[in-house]
């Protein structure tokens, strides 16, 4: 399978403190890859390098190479706005804009210059359907997105990302603030769209990783410990540490 993101020896430090000690990970197209590991292992930090959200934090220094297709994500000439259109992100806390459901989903498109009402309507509907939220919001499209439950808000956020049709969708612990039923719906959503998008999900929920991902990467203290097919990792991990973590001996 073709690789869409390749990264080599990625180091990241906040001031004097190094948080990632040289991570090399490749992601295959139209796959779900899970990043797991205990809190503070650097999995979210690594994820946020992929769409350069770490640029917003002061004093962050990143070395190594990260490529989206053939293009260097950290090349001086990279258009960050364009990069983020291609690499979308869903956050831990549902963060819909304080607008209507319709506006939330249509917003990225609208600001990208799409004016045709039919195109907008169509994309909003498709995205909401892909995010498995359409049935719940179709009669409330013009109500404030913040008036829905956390799980619904999170799926609206997923739809919002899908509407701009990125190539890669990053999810940073998207279900950790949600109840199990909502979490299951988000997981269904991801399985739903895996054929059209490359999905990279950070999760501290190992069951979730095993349920939905094709490949899993285990990070510990800023190092990549193991990266293999999910099935293999959960049944026959190569590393002792992975096995200990998966069996709940720490973390």
């Amino acid at each position: 399978m073709p690789k869409i993101i390749t990264s080599k020896d990625v180091h990241l430090s906040y001031g004097p403190k190094e948080a990632l000690h040289g991570i090399s990970l490749d992601f295959e197209e139209h796959n779900i890859t899970a990043l797991i590991g205990p809190s503070g292992c650097g999995k979210s930090t690594y994820l946020r390098c992929l769409n350069r959200m770490n640029d917003l934090i002061k004093g962050v220094k990143i070395t190594g190479s990260m490529k989206l297709g053939d293009e260097d994500i950290y090349a001086p000439g990279t258009d960050i706005v364009d990069l983020r259109k291609r690499v979308g992100m869903v956050f831990q806390q549902p963060n819909p804009f304080p607008f209507s459901v319709y506006e939330n989903v249509a917003y990225g498109l609208r600001l990208a210059g799409e004016k045709d009402k039919h195109v907008l309507d169509e994309r909003v509907e498709t995205s909401l359907k892909q995010a498995a939220i359409w049935d719940e919001v179709k009669d409330h499209l013009y109500e404030n997105a913040l008036s829905f439950s956390g799980g619904q808000q999170q799926r609206i956020c997923v739809a919002r990302v899908l509407a701009v049709q990125p190539e890669v969708v990053l999810l940073d612990e998207p279900t950790s603030a949600l109840d199990p039923i909502s979490s299951a719906k988000i997981e269904d959503t991801l399985l739903n769209i895996r054929n059209q998008y490359t999905i990279i999900i950070v999760t501290h929920n190992m069951q979730q990783a095993s349920r939905i991902s094709d490949k899993t990467a285990f990070l510990l203290n800023g190092d990549l410990v193991e990266f293999s097919k999910t099935e293999k990792m959960f049944i026959h991990p190569d590393s002792e540490k992975t096995s200990d973590y998966l069996n709940g001996k720490f973390g």
């Binding site: 956050f91 804009f97 990225g108 600001l111 990208a112 913040l146 956020c157």
Partner: protein
């Protein structure tokens, strides 16, 4: 003393203090309204002030106050919006922005009479503006700017960081994230605070005595050409406001009914400011609904 008793005592003390503040407020408002409202009539609001005879009104002063306020906001809002956005969204945390913030704060604590005298020397005398609405509006801008800048900055800061991240991660530029997401989300707050700051501008007297002047020349309310000297929209004419009028009738007023005019004017001033506050709340709520559930 167990925690329950200390909690009760603390609650009691807090209630007592709040009651004190409320009592002062009620007393002041009540006094001004009770002594003033009986003198407020349609005639009082719609007739010109009299210099010597009794029975003068406050028509021109009322209009001047409103006009001055509008002009002040027209001048100060764009500047405050720009600097508020800069301070909240772009300013790095270093000594330069520290100096800016301190300067803004110092500006807001300048005594108004100093601002008035400064405006008098610079605009009225040096720039040959004469006593004029424009000079008054610029002087008021000096006051309004710091408050407005800080309140716009605060309203923008109130918008969750998550919203900015959401915008940026969606592939919006920084500017589009600010104008498209952060600003609309902050707009109800900004609006409320603008109107509240307007209350302060509306009641300002000391800074205006030396800039907008203490006379209210007769103007023609049918003349819509701001370039005409007789037009009510002309901003190069002197313009006494309500607050200045109160000060004037109390210090050098020779009309026999000076006390009546003063208390009536005070009541009108207070009522207008109360209306501003109500309006601010209603408009903020309405706007928030509009913004957040767009049709």
């Amino acid at each position: 003393m167990n925690s329950k008793t200390s909690n009760n005592i603390a609650t009691g003390v807090i209630y007592f203090l709040v009651a004190g503040v409320l009592a002062i407020l009620v007393f002041l408002l009540g006094y001004i309204l009770i002594t003033g409202i009986p003198h407020v009539s349609w005639h009082f609001l719609t007739s010109a002030a009299q210099s010597f005879a009794a029975g003068g009104g406050i028509r021109d002063q009322l209009f001047n106050s409103l006009y001055l306020l509008v002009l002040t906001l027209i001048i100060s809002f764009p500047i405050a919006l720009g600097s508020g956005i800069y301070l909240s969204e772009y300013a790095p945390d270093n000594w330069v922005t520290g100096v800016i913030r301190t300067a803004v704060e110092v500006l807001s604590s300048l005594p108004s009479v100093v601002v008035g005298l400064f405006g008098f020397l610079l605009f009225v005398v040096n720039f040959h503006m004469g006593f004029s609405i424009l000079a008054g509006a610029i002087a008021l801008t000096f006051f309004n700017l710091p408050l407005l800048t800080r309140s716009i900055e605060e309203s923008l800061q109130d918008v969750s960081e998550l919203q900015r991240e959401a915008g940026l991660s969606l592939g919006l530029s920084r500017w589009k994230t600010i104008t498209g997401i952060v600003l609309p989300a902050a707009l109800p707050g900004i609006l409320t605070r603008i109107i509240l700051s307007a209350g302060r501008v509306f009641g300002e007297a000391a800074a205006l005595i030396y800039t907008a002047g203490q006379s209210a020349p007769t103007v023609n309310y049918g003349d819509w050409n701001p370039m005409d000297s007789a037009s009510f929209l002309n901003f190069m004419r002197p313009a006494e406001t309500l607050a200045v009028h109160i000060w004037k009738v109390n210090t050098e007023g020779v009309t026999p009914d000076a006390a009546v005019i003063s208390s009536g004017t005070s009541a009108v001033l207070i009522v207008v400011i109360l209306l501003f506050n109500l309006l601010a709340r209603m408009l903020g709520r309405w706007l928030y609904k509009r913004m957040t559930a767009t049709k």
